[in-house]
Subunit: 556 residues, 2 copies
C-alpha cells in the first residue's frame, strides 16, 4: 500500500493559478507561494463582500479514539465527491502546526486518496502564517518585559503577567521556566513559559478577525496581566498591537491549495480545539462561501468540543450559519467506546459496537439542538464486517438519519458520492434553522453549565468558590456577554478521558478560567489541558531526512 | 525629503519574472513568493555549475560609528551604476533579521534611492528563511532535551549542554533562563537561554553550505555539549540533522529581488559578523556569479571584521576569489574617529578629519595584504565641505588609491558612476592575486594572533592559561585546521569600543573560545559580545501600525 507521502508525490498537482481560475479568480488577485500554493489578495477578498454565499457544511465527529476517525479525510473526500457530482464545492481546513510533525504523528493534511497538496509544504512552513503568529505573540512578550525593564509606569505586577511565549515545537523543557536571570541587564527574574503556537490567543484572534482593522483592535484588547492594584493591563497599554498587526498583515490573507482531485482547498488558521475554538479562519470560510456553491469545513475533536465551538463561537461571532452537518464515525472507534482494546479491533464484536454506539447517539442528539439538518458518515475500514456496518446504519436509522458508507481514503471522491448526494440534498433543503445553544445575555456561569449539561450530559457544573468568584468578577468587569470556550479532554463527554461511550451522572468541575479579551471568549478549563506537548521517546524526527533528489523522507 | 519607505512605495517594481528573465532565467525555474520575490529552483542552481563566473567585488568599510557609513547603500548604488554603464551586475546582500526592526533602527535593505525592494517584505518575513533557521535550531534543542528526558544513554552532562535556543526578536528577558521547572513531566531543570536567530550556528552553516547534502552533514557535526566524561556529543548523536535539513530544504534556495532600478539582488542568509562570518550565503554568491558579469557583495561591520572573515572564512571555504574591493568611508565617520562628537558633525573640522583618516589608512593597509586591487568610496553627505572631501582624496591618493565621491543615496546609480567605472576597471584588470591571511596548517592560536596583529594592529594576543589550554585541546581533538572567527567590538581596531582611530600598542585578550564544528571555525571571543539584543526604552515597535489601505506605517 502506498504511504500518504507517496500518494501525494504521485499527485497530478495543477498550477494553483488554474485551480484559482476554476473559482473565477484571475491571476492578478493571487499572491503565489511557489506554483501550487497562493494567498488571495486582501483587496480581492474585500471585493467579494456583496456576493451571494454558497451553502456551508460542517464535518464533525464522534468522540475521538486512538483508532482514528478521519474527520479531515471525510471533509476532503466529500468535497471531491461533490465536485464529481457536478457541484462546485470547496473545502476549508485548519492549517497544521509544524511541531507535532516531529513527534508522534505525521502531518495533518488528510490521508490516503483524500489529501490536500502539496502536503509537505502544508505540514511544514506552508505560507509562513504560523511563524508570523508566533513572531507577533513573542513581540508582545518582549514589549511587555521591555516595558517593565525600563519604566513600568502602570506598575504591572511581575507575579501577575499572564502573557507567556510561544514556539511551534514540541518542547516540554520550556513549559515552565524562570526568565530574566543574570543580573539587571537581563530584566527582572520572573516566572514564564512557552506554549505551542497554535495555543496562542493571537491564533484565536487571527481566526476570528474580519479584516486587518478588526485584527489590530482585537490585538490591542488582549489582557496581558494585572497591576499591583489588580487592574487589568492590555496589549494596547504597551503599544504593541500596531507592530503585531504589521507582522500578521500578509498572513491574514487566506491560503488556497488543492485536493488530490484538484478541487479548491482553503487551509488557513489552526487554533487549538480545547483552550481555543478549533476552526479555520473566518476570513477563509467567508471567502470560500463567496466563491463556491458548497463549502465543506471541519472543526477539531468530537462534536462536543469542535462543533459546539464552531456553532457557539465561530458562527455566533461571524454570523455564519451552517446548512448541514456531517457526523463522522468509524466501526473501530465505536467498538473502542464499547470497551474493545485497540489490539482487538480487527475482530467483529457486535455487542461492543452496540454499546459504543451510545457515543454516536449522544453526539446526534447534541447536534440536533442547533437546528441544522444532519447526516452520518461511516469512514470504512477493511476490517469492518457487513453485520457491523448494518448495525450502525440501523442505529442511525432509528434516529431518523442515514449513515453513508465512505471509502474516500482508498478511492478519493468516488468513495464518498452517496454522502455527497445526501449532503447536497440536505444543504439545499432550506431546512436549516441554525440557532446557538445560549444567548449572549446568559451569565457566564450559566453558559458553561448549559454546555456541560446539554453537550456533555453532565448533571451539573461545579467549581471552588475562588473560581466562582472569578466568574462573578468577569461579569462585573463587563465580559458577561462573551461566549465560553470549554477546555476539556476530547476522549470523553466527561472530564475523565477513560470514561468512554456516553457517560451520565457525572459532574464537570472547572479548574481554571481565563479571559481571552482579544478573541472575546472566556476559557473555562475542566481537567488537565496540555498547552505544550512533548516529544515521545522515539520522535518521528529521528527518521526524517532529505534524500539526494531533495525530497523529504520519513515525514509521514 | 522622502523617507525610505516612501521611496520604496513609489518604486516602479518589476515583476520578478522580468528581473529573472534579464538574467536569462526562465519562469519555470523560479519559485515565486508573491510577484516581486522569488527563490531559484535548486535543480536550476545546480545546473549552473559549469558556467563561467563573473567578477566578484567586495564592499567593505572603515570602522563603523553611530554616524553611519552606508556600506549596503554603496553596494546597491554601485550595482545600479554598473548597470547604467552597460555592465551586467548583480548585488548579493545578507537578509535582515526581523527582531531589530522593532528596536532602534529601521530596516536593513539599503536606504534613500539605493534600496532593494520590496523593502517591507525583505525586512519582515521575506521568504521565511529566518523562521526556517530558527525552527531547525530549536528542533535540535527540543531533541537534545527530549533525549535527556527519556534515556540520556550517552550520559550528556546537564551542566555542559552548550546548544541554546533562538528567537528572531530582541528579547533580553530570555538571555539567561532556567528551563524544565515544574516537576519530572517537564524535563530536568537546566540552565539555558535564547540568542537572536542570526547568531545561530545553523545560520552560519546555512551560509557556508554548498548544497543540501553538505548542509545535512554539517548539521550532524554540530557540537551540542559534553558527556559526564567530557567527551563531545554531536547533533547526529541525537538524530537531529535529517529533520533539521527537512526544515531548511526550501530556505536554502537563493532569493532574488531587485534594486529600485530593477537590477537583480540576491538577498540570502545573514549571520552575525562577530561570532559568525557576516556574509550572505555561498550558494547565493556562487549563483549570482554564474548569472552576471559582476557581482557586488558586502560583509558586516568594518574591514577588520567583515572583510577579514569574508576572505579568511567564506572565500577560503568556498574557493571564491574576489577581483576588487571597495572600502567605504564618510567624512562624518572619519571626523568621529578624529574625536568629534556626534552633535558637532555638521561643522567643518579638518584637524579632526586628518586624525580620523588614520582609521581609513589602517583599513587600506590591512586589505592590501589579501592581494586584491581596491578603491575607496566616499559616501557623501550634504554637510561635507569641499575642503574635507579634498583632504580625504589627497590622503587616499598618497596611498596610491583613488577615492570616489558617491551620491547614490540621493541619486541612485547615477550618483556612483565614477565608482562603477573604477571598480569595473579594477575587476577586469586581472591584477587580483587573492590570498588568505594564514594557511590552514597554522595552529589555532597562531591564526588568532595573526589576525590580532595584522588586522587589529595589536602588539599581541593574550589569554588566561585556561583559555590557552582550550586552544591546545582543540588542536589535539583535530580541529587545528579550522580558521578562526574573531568576535570583538566593531567600533575599534582594539577590544575597547571607545578607542577610535587607529590605536596601536594594544593587546587583544581572548575571553572565551567555542567550536562551531558544523560551520567549521573556532569562535574566538575578545570582549563583550551580545548574542541577544534588547529593545530600547522607546522601541520602534511602539510606532508601527497598519493603515486603512493595508500599508505598514512607521517601520522605517
Amino acid at each position: 500500500m502506498q504511504s500518504d507521502i507517496e500518494i501525494a508525490r504521485d499527485a497530478n498537482i495543477k498550477p494553483i493559478v488554474e485551480v484559482a481560475a476554476e473559482l473565477g479568480i484571475e491571476g492578478e488577485h493571487l499572491v503565489p507561494y511557489g506554483h501550487s500554493k497562493a494567498k488571495l489578495g486582501m483587496d480581492y477578498v474585500a471585493s467579494l463582500a456583496d456576493r451571494t454565499k454558497g451553502k456551508l457544511v460542517l464535518v464533525t465527529a464522534m468522540s475521538p479514539t486512538p483508532a482514528g476517525e478521519g474527520k479531515t479525510t471525510v471533509a476532503i473526500g466529500l468535497t471531491d465527491a461533490m465536485n464529481q457530482r457536478g457541484k462546485r464545492a470547496s473545502v476549508c481546513l485548519r492549517e497544521p502546526s509544524l511541531g507535532p510533525c516531529f513527534g508522534l504523528k505525521g502531518g495533518a493534511a488528510g490521508g490516503g486518496f483524500a489529501q490536500v497538496v502539496p502536503m509537505e509544504d502544508i505540514n511544514l512552513h506552508f505560507t509562513g502564517d504560523m511563524h508570523a503568529i508566533g513572531a507577533a505573540h513573542n513581540l508582545l512578550a518582549a514589549m511587555i518585559d521591555n516595558y517593565i525593564h525600563w519604566s513600568n509606569e502602570v506598575r504591572l505586577d511581575l507575579r501577575r503577567v499572564t502573557w507567556r511565549r510561544v514556539v511551534d515545537m514540541n518542547d516540554r523543557q520550556l513549559r515552565q521556566i524562570i526568565t530574566g536571570a543574570g543580573g539587571p541587564a537581563n530584566g527582572f527574574p520572573m516566572e514564564g513559559g512557552f506554549d505551542i503556537t497554535v495555543a496562542s490567543e493571537v491564533m484565536a484572534i487571527f481566526c476570528l478577525a474580519r479584516n486587518l482593522q478588526d485584527l489590530q483592535q482585537r490585538l490591542g484588547r488582549i489582557l496581558i496581566g494585572y497591576t499591583r492594584d489588580k487592574e487589568p493591563v492590555t496589549a494596547a497599554q504597551v503599544q504593541a498591537p500596531g507592530a503585531m498587526t504589521a507582522l500578521l498583515r500578509d498572513a491574514l490573507a487566506p491560503n488556497l491549495v488543492q485536493t488530490l482531485e484538484n478541487n479548491p482547498a482553503f487551509v488557513h488558521g489552526g487554533p487549538f480545539a480545547n483552550i481555543a475554538h478549533g476552526c479555520n479562519s473566518v476570513i477563509a470560510t467567508e471567502t470560500a462561501l463567496r466563491l463556491s456553491d458548497y463549502v465543506v469545513t471541519e472543526a477539531g475533536f468530537g462534536a462536543d468540543l469542535g462543533a459546539e465551538k464552531f456553532f457557539n463561537i465561530k458562527c455566533r461571532k461571524s454570523g455564519l450559519a451552517p446548512d448541514a452537518v456531517v457526523i463522522v464515525a468509524t466501526v473501530r472507534a465505536l467498538k473502542m467506546h464499547g470497551g474493545v482494546a485497540r489490539s482487538a479491533l480487527e475482530a467483529e464484536n457486535l455487542d461492543a459496537l452496540q454499546t459504543g454506539l451510545e457515543n454516536l447517539g449522544r453526539h446526534i442528539r447534541n447536534v440536533g439542538q442547533y437546528g441544522v439538518p444532519m447526516t452520518v458518515a461511516i469512514n470504512q475500514f477493511a476490517s469492518d464486517t457487513a453485520a457491523e456496518i448494518k448495525l450502525v446504519q440501523d442505529y442511525v436509522g432509528e434516529r431518523g438519519l442515514e449513515a453513508h458508507l465512505c471509502n474516500h481514503h482508498a478511492q478519493g471522491g468516488a468513495g464518498a458520492t452517496d454522502l455527497a448526494d445526501a449532503v447536497a440534498q440536505l444543504a439545499d433543503s432550506g431546512q436549516s434553522q441554525f440557532r446557538t445553544l445560549y444567548d449572549d445575555d446568559m451569565p457566564l456561569w450559566g453558559k458553561a453549565r448549559t454546555v456541560a449539561r446539554q453537550m456533555y450530559g453532565a448533571d451539573d457544573l461545579e467549581a471552588d468558590q475562588k473560581i466562582r468568584d472569578q466568574f462573578e468578577l468577569f461579569e462585573q468587569q463587563g465580559y458577561g456577554h462573551f461566549p465560553v470556550c470549554m477546555a476539556k479532554t476530547q476522549y470523553s463527554f466527561s472530564t475523565d478521558p477513560a470514561l468512554m461511550g456516553a457517560p451520565s451522572n457525572h459532574r464537570v468541575k472547572v479548574r481554571e478560567v481565563s479571559l481571552a479579551t482579544g478573541a472575546e471568549f472566556l476559557v473555562v478549563v475542566c481537567g488537565d489541558i496540555m498547552r505544550m506537548p512533548g516529544l515521545p521517546r522515539v520522535p518521528a524526527a529521528n527518521n526524517i531526512s532529505v534524500n539526494a533528489r531533495g525530497q523529504i523522507e520519513g515525514l509521514f
